[in-house]
Symmetry: C2
Subunit: 294 residues, 2 copies
């Protein structure tokens, strides 16, 4: 990936350097030394793709913001994402034994430890933002308010609820797309929109970019679940099919899904052009997300 | 209970009026109209004692604060407390089928709905504080930061983890007391200390009051579990014994527990005298907590 330098950020950034930055921030979390923190670290340090925090940093970089202001938000979002995976993998939810190429948390530790670790990660996510020294109080409140909305009973949790509900119902195309948006897309949209809303000003192009990337990401994910091996994607493949999940590709097939993905890829490119960001790390990374194979 | 009037609070307050206020605030939660919110409301509107929010209001009243500033904090704490009960009752945790005299959430709905409802309640708790109009940004950040610390991997969750761990180990007296403090006391201490820290100034007497009430509350709770019927306490009685829990009364007996409770009752009274609050609704309510029978 090409490197780009912005005035506010003294070091050249890249996907690798951002991944390193995220991992270092995870390692510097001041967790208590006990089995709960051991479990939290096990889940957090498993080799994830860090898509959400990387998007946050790349948007901030495109806006020429000080990345120090993004550190707490990026760490917080990775905690939220990891907690949601831990709870999703539980036997009473998606019942998955593997995650990021390793045993899922409840298999490695126990169900109760998995539930409690996820719960603690959510608290920690809000604490990190509230206690940070680089954000002022108004910025913190804005970020916390948006994040809590996106992951709560109107957002991510509602999506996960519908995902499980749909195992035993026959949702419409729009209901499937809405479920996927709630479950996955909203948090990705948050990562693109949060730096804009908090430190710059929002417009239609940013909203379109966020939504197309968020929805596109989940469509690609659902397609990979069907078409790749478990080893390649680091979690049980074809699990959606086995669990009677109602994903878009299961219902409408590979070709129709690729049409939907292409639509969103096109909108994201047009939005990036409108924002004058069609030739930077952010646009390269988004292009890569649309064409990823794991 | 006697009624007391303070200048800031136009209406006379009582335990009943505060319970009503809390219930009204729960009812006015802008939850989405779906099964997740149905489950959240089922758990939140079950007839709990509302000890934590009542303590918040009574401390605020003793400090002559505007109770409108307490509304979001009180609602948030009741959400956190309810979420912790829902997750504690799960089969892989304490496996309790009854709560507040009714079926626990996973029995009434499902395990996945119980986990998701608890998760959403935690998000909602932080959102309510972040979005409130009566607190300024600095106050919000202070409350969120303290609350997240108290309920996370250094606090409530660690206590719950130890509580389960101790089912298969032989903890010392201090370890049992520490577990109970983390699991229950810290959130009650938060309710007493939060209005003081956020809107007034903290001193040793407040700290002693908070700790003695918090620890005393859990000791009374553990004693009631052993000595009362299920019908009377609204949850399965003697469950601690059946679950091989290591509570103070199970290990050291009724008499030794009453000695510990009396110690804390005495400290709380002395602290209230030092604070000049030995003859108000707060002191009456605390006295009642030490002598409750359900």
């Amino acid at each position: 990936m090409a490197q780009l330098n912005h005035s506010k950020n003294s070091q050249k950034i890249s996907e690798n350097s951002l991944t390193q930055r995220i991992n270092n921030n995870i390692l510097s979390l001041a967790l208590p030394k006990n089995d709960i923190s051991k479990a939290m670290n096990y889940a957090l340090l498993n080799p994830g793709k860090r898509v959400r925090p990387i998007l946050l940093y790349l948007v901030a970089d495109a806006l020429n913001l000080d990345l120090k202001k993004i550190d707490p938000i990026a760490l917080s979002v990775e905690l939220i994402h990891t907690y949601s995976l831990i709870h999703d993998d539980l036997p009473c939810m998606d019942d998955d034994d593997f995650r990021r190429g390793q045993q899922s948390l409840h298999k490695k530790f126990s169900e109760s430890t998995a539930i409690l670790s996820g719960d603690a990660m959510q608290s920690e996510a809000f604490k990190i933002i509230a206690e940070n020294n680089y954000l002022n109080a108004v910025e913190k409140v804005s970020v916390i308010s948006e994040l809590a909305e996106v992951i709560g009973a109107n957002g991510m949790i509602l999506g996960q609820y519908k995902d499980i509900l749909f195992e035993n119902t026959e949702p419409t195309k729009n209901e499937i797309l809405e479920m996927a948006r709630l479950k996955t897309s909203l948090l990705i949209e948050f990562c693109i929109l949060c730096p804009v809303k908090t430190f710059a000003s929002l417009n239609k192009a940013w909203l379109n970019l966020a939504r197309s990337v968020g929805e596109g990401f989940q469509l690609v994910d659902d397609l990979l679940d069907l078409s790749q091996t478990s080893q390649h994607i680091g979690k049980t493949a074809k699990k959606d099919l086995m669990n009677n999940k109602k994903t878009f590709p299961i219902y409408y097939g590979k070709d129709a899904t690729e049409v939907e993905i292409d639509k969103r890829s096109k909108i994201s490119k047009e939005s990036l052009v409108k924002l004058g960001l069609h030739n930077c790390l952010l646009s390269e990374y988004i292009e890569k997300l649309f064409h990823r194979t794991n």
